[in-house]
Chain length 463, copies 2
């Protein structure tokens, strides 16, 4: 085929995979189906990406962009008539400017590689999430990844100083300036961050780094009322002067479900309390560990926190995080389940969860609803299991029960994970018609042939 | 005139100013010329803004949007055939959510009003700048304002959770959700932030608030080499765990020029040092004042800081800031002058300034070049005086000397102030042709009749 020859000319024969080399790969972490594609191409630089995209544009072949394949929302499914553009060879950290605290990377660099690189330079890249070994920085920019330290440092968007993007027609737009302040017209990079690869392909990034802490203080605490969670969050965040980096709440059912899993975890606290919070703060000075302790003590004296376990070693810190991070226990123990990633203003969370539990249990009395999340950001993860089978119809019914109330509560149907194909029929609960029309207009202008990641976020076809 | 009647029908007779009521106003703080306009209208709500814009759109009358009129870059000049849309009546703080730490405001609220309101609720809005009494939050969003605390909290963009915008055809796009995390398709608000009112008109905003500190620690220190400035910044930022909120550097000429102004200021430090830095950190706990002192002492022991004055009272803090903030001394003492607001990676600053001083002094040996800025953000302000007269030709020559080298140094011709009319012929030094073409494409799609703030940032006409 002509197109395969042309692709080989651009990236080299060994970097155009077809047939079994494609189908032997799965779609991603959360989709074990065999990947389908006309070809999977592995460019080594921006110019090759640009040439591949230009070729596809000319031939009206659509492109699915592939980072680490760790997305949750069916964002990188490909079909046998599509070209998959994989960033696996564009995994170089190109340069670091320690004085300026910035780093220039290719889009295929995995998150963990940047963590380690930064740490070697006594610096810190403050986005972290479970898929750190596989997820790529380009994919994280395209999806505006969140994770564990958003409370303190913001989403991925706020770490991006500069971007290089290949447009749907192959044009390269480069602005990799490592500047915190740059008010010279429209901040174009913002368009591409979080657009799930539908407007342009991120090829390189300039990212902001932060000072590395000396140590972290970690505690697992128990709280008896939702209102006290809010108070504890506000008191601790204030007393720690913004150094609070995690405030991860687990509802009782969640904590119990993980702890009851036999030998795997030791319980730092008994399972009788309504809420558990994993609290973490970074320390840059020895005195700050004392401040952490005194802030916790103040909350206990006020009755806002009813029990607390303070990690006194790195092993104890890891054991506490292992409880919070034991997603495998949920995915296996609750199968079949549906997972959610929503957000809403903090003082609406308790009422929303109560209402949702009632609504679901009235239809499925045996349902299990596991709730946990980054409360500091209003971000909740839900795992819902209603019985041994889960039909598409049931799934849709539960989706509506979860998503519909968010519209009136000014919430979001996707706090971190994005929309992809999976959530697009529920987008209306979070965005107005006018907003969706504006998104479609932008897509139409920037990608008139709908070449890039077609079908994600909203429906759009060449008109 | 028909149009005036129609405007009066929308906003009421007393809110359509014409003739003397318009010309008796100046263009803005930095332009004392009389304002010209077909009419200056003062809507009281978003619906009125929308109706005014729709009317102008239908009649192809262009609109100049007016906040506090404190911009530096000729962004709100209007002509006698244009409608000026003033936000002076849309100055209400609509609601606060203390638990969620967010506030909903109309676009015409002055910055200082929000500071005071937040403080009354034990919260902090972390953007601050000299024009605080007049500049409006809508204008600050439209221009992505910077200021004093960017090092810690980021630009205005990072404080915006939600926006309501009136589009050039009068359509209202509202997303005022108070969410830190919301990955539901394109983050449309980012398009409007920093676009200088050329793509849509900000009418209401949801802003993020932060915990209020207990106190601040302030010091003025002297540094003998530029490299030590960089080291001091990095050491202090690390040791203060991110609480460092100001690192304002004054080059010797600047400090001397202000101090030499007779009775106005007392010098906390002698004027013999090459650099002076005003350092400030927020404290949330008593121990943090000790950490501030020990971090400064460590820098002094290492010889990175050669002299220091620590403010021991609020009056002393204010006196130190008064030196940094005495812009009047510069504007009067250096008249005629040109002011600049540039940024570049921190380790390129010293070389750039040396080269610039040489280039300017070779043409104007008597020139005065005053340099100061937010070094933590790579942001420098320059005041350049070359002699008793300043022709347009000289101005342009100096502009090129300042701006041209920034292109190769990956700098920015405008860190905070924006482009407006004033800097648009130099935009090419900071943005590529492809970037400017993309900006023009966005303008063309969103404002096809070029109704809003025409002429700002780049040239664009209806095609």
């Amino acid at each position: 085929m002509d197109i395969l020859n042309s692709l080989q000319t651009i990236v080299g024969q060994s970097n155009v995979l077809t047939g079994k080399d494609v189908t032997s790969r799965s779609v991603g972490w959360f989709d074990s189906n065999a990947r389908q594609a006309l070809a999977l191409v592995r460019p080594k630089c921006t110019v090759e990406v640009s040439q591949v995209v230009r070729l596809c544009y000319q031939q009206s072949i659509s492109i699915v962009v592939l980072g680490g394949g760790t997305g949750f929302v069916e964002g990188s499914i490909s079909h046998e008539h599509q070209v998959v553009l994989s960033f696996e060879r564009m995994n170089k950290i190109e340069s670091i400017d320690e004085d300026n605290r910035s780093v220039l990377v290719q889009a295929g660099v995995p998150l963990q590689a940047l963590h380690e690189f930064a740490q070697d330079h006594q610096l810190h890249f403050p986005v972290d999430l479970g898929a750190r070994g596989s997820c790529t920085l380009g994919g994280m920019a395209a999806t505006n990844a969140g994770g564990n330290e958003v409370l303190r440092y913001g989403m991925f968007r706020e770490q991006v100083l500069g971007l290089e993007v290949v447009m749907p027609n192959g044009e390269i737009i480069t602005n990799l300036r490592a500047l915190l302040k740059n008010n010279t017209g429209y901040d174009i990079k913002q368009l591409f961050i979080g657009s799930e690869g539908t407007l342009g392909i991120v090829t390189r990034l300039t990212l902001r780094l932060r000072p590395l802490h000396n140590s972290v203080s970690t505690a697992l605490v128990a709280v008896s009322q939702f209102e006290h969670l809010v108070t504890a969050l506000r008191n601790l965040d204030r007393q720690l002067g913004g150094r609070l980096s995690a405030f991860e709440v687990m509802w009782q059912d969640h904590y119990q479900f993980i702890i009851d899993d036999g030998q795997k975890h030791q319980a730092p606290l008994s399972t009788e309390h309504p809420y558990y919070v994993l609290i973490q703060a970074a320390n840059y000075h020895d005195l700050e560990a004392d401040i952490f302790m005194s802030a916790l003590e103040a909350c206990m004296n006020d009755g806002i926190i009813v029990d607390a376990a303070i990690a006194s070693s790195k092993a104890q810190q890891q054991a506490m995080w292992a409880i919070r991070d034991d997603i495998e226990r949920l995915t296996t123990g609750l199968a079949p389940y549906i997972g959610y990633d929503i957000s809403l203003p903090i003082n609406r969370i308790a009422g929303y969860i109560d209402q949702l539990q009632t609504a679901i249990k009235s239809q499925w009395p045996e349902a299990k609803i596991i709730v946990f999340g980054h409360l500091g950001d209003g971000n909740l993860h839900l795992f819902i299991h209603v019985g041994p089978t889960l039909t598409a119809k049931t799934k849709d019914a539960i989706n509506h029960l979860v998503y519909q109330p968010l519209a009136n509560l000014s919430g979001s149907i996707s706090a971190e994970h994005g929309i992809g194909l999976q959530k697009k029929s529920y987008l209306k609960y979070s965005r107005t018609q006018e907003e969706i029309a504006l998104m479609q207009l932008l897509k139409k202008q920037l990608d008139p042939k709908a070449i890039l990641n077609p079908g994600l976020i909203f429906d759009y076809s060449e008109r």
